[in-house]
């Protein structure tokens, strides 16, 4: 029987949750790398037994771990993320120039077809690539060297490159998103980049046509329709139908359009999920009710999904990398909270149940669908 493996990164270690295709009985393994912040754990689509993990610590810096047996054992690989050449400056919070400084790896994106190739999005914003399974990393410097980069400014969480999307239909096309610079697209495997932010409107940016400066929280794509992207921005849920050339707001009837994660149903490109959060100053669900919202129309029309989720006294957050979908016949949806719960739905969001309740704050959730 097929099954799933849910990879969870938390403030204090990584956890691997496994179940068969019924997704009602779970085995929990962990904590792996106990005591370290695990920003992201993701498996290779080309070899599901190969998993990469970003392990970091304010004390001891960045480590990258790799498993070649589905998370049972791990080995450290390379952790030298030196920027290409002499890094320039970006804007600091007070508007003064600030040198680029590596802090941590926020996101690891394995290649769709080569288990040895993996991309890393880092803070301060930069994109790195390894072609030897994570042993050595080289920056793809064109993004950081974009002419707009000296004007980029960090969001409250740091200037992180947190989203990397690889276009399965057009080799060489990829997207990256940076808080608080915006979304960028490359059509030549990262050798050059263009901002793709037209149509975004951000409070505090008076120029409605500003190319950069937008606090994009997360991008999502369905592999069958890669020209359509969904975006959860600081405020606003957005959609593009032309690979980012222009965006339109699809927040519709959401109770609030602030949030972090966004994802797409594995088999229905127009079915989208978000978790509305009260506001940028109140990072918890409105009215203390944890509700996932689903649109079956590609945005604009949203329905709350509440069955099995706490509907009172719930004041957790769901971070940008903490939602994922499996690709079983009945699509499963997963998300983790800053309260340490990991919820799963085996019926596309209609009903939910916690897999675990008391992990450290969840930073990321990914899922692998196993044969």
């Amino acid at each position: 029987m097929s099954g799933v493996r849910v990879l969870v990164g938390t403030r204090k270690g990584a956890f691997v949750l496994t179940a068969d295709g019924q997704r009602d009985q779970w085995t929990v393994s962990g904590p792996h790398f106990a005591g370290w912040e695990i920003y992201h754990v993701k498996g290779s689509p080309a070899d599901p037994n190969r998993i990469f993990a970003s392990q970091s610590s304010g004390w001891f810096g960045q480590v990258v771990q790799r498993s070649d047996d589905g998370g049972a054992t791990w080995d450290t690989v390379g952790s030298d993320f030196s920027y290409d050449g002499v890094p320039g400056t970006h804007q600091w919070y007070d508007g003064t120039p600030h040198p680029w400084e590596f802090a941590r790896v926020w996101h690891l994106e394995p290649s769709l077809d080569d288990p040895d190739t993996v991309y890393a999005g880092v803070e301060d914003a930069g994109l790195f690539r390894s072609a030897d399974g994570g042993r050595q990393w080289a920056e793809l410097p064109a993004l950081r060297n974009h002419e707009s980069a000296p004007s980029w400014q960090p969001g409250a969480g740091g200037m992180c490159l947190h989203t990397i999307l690889l276009d399965p239909g057009q080799p060489g096309r990829m997207y990256a998103a940076i808080s608080a610079a915006g979304a960028f697209r490359s059509d030549d495997a990262g050798q050059s980049w263009q901002p793709v932010n037209q149509g975004l409107r951000s409070e505090g940016i008076p120029d409605p046509n500003a190319e950069v400066g937008h606090c994009v929280h997360r991008l999502a794509m369905h592999p069958s329709r890669p020209g359509v992207l969904y975006m959860q921005k600081h405020w606003d849920v957005m959609r593009t139908d032309n690979a980012g050339e222009s965006w339109r707001e699809v927040s519709g009837n959401l109770p609030t359009d602030f949030g972090f994660p966004i994802d797409v149903h594995a088999h229905e490109p127009d079915t989208v999920y978000v978790v509305p959060i009260t506001s940028d100053s109140h990072h918890f669900p409105p009215d203390g009710k944890l509700r996932v919202y689903r649109s079956r129309t590609g945005g604009d029309e949203w329905e709350p999904l509440t069955t099995g989720l706490p509907q009172e006294h719930c004041y957790v957050n769901v971070l940008r990398d903490a939602m994922a979908v499996d690709s079983l016949e009945e699509c499963g949806i997963y998300f983790g909270t800053t309260g340490g719960q990991v919820y799963a739905s085996a019926d596309a969001g209609d009903t939910w149940a916690p897999i675990v309740r008391d992990l450290p704050a969840v930073l990321s959730v990914e899922v692998q669908t196993l044969p």
Binding site: S57, W59, F60, G61, V63
Partner: protein
């Protein structure tokens, strides 16, 4: 032999338990001890000192003989008790409150 004590997280990372004993050629300084340590355990590169400029990471401290050596020049000789192995060289993660 120079005795080095690592914080728990770095012992786990390097897959060691207890103290590390290191032969150090030439003058025994913080730099030469850390060079020898990273030579034996490459996974520790970048976790104690900045990989590029060699500076101590901000929340890592160095002690020996009940003395904080964190701000000593990296090429200053370590105390004789460390060079003879009577006392360990301590690498410590700064304490976190809360």
């Amino acid at each position: 032999m120079i005795r080095v004590v690592l914080p728990a997280h770095l012992r786990t990372l390097a897959r060691i338990s207890g103290e590390v004993e290191l032969p150090v050629a030439g003058p025994v300084t913080q730099r030469s001890v850390l060079d020898a340590l990273e030579g034996r355990y490459p996974v520790l590169r970048g976790t104690i000192r900045d990989r590029d400029n060699g500076r101590r990471r901000p929340m890592v401290r160095f002690f020996a003989c009940e003395t904080d050596l964190s701000h000593e020049p990296p090429d200053a000789p370590l105390p004789e008790a460390v060079t003879t192995g009577a006392e360990p060289y301590l690498i410590v993660g700064a304490m976190a409150g809360g």
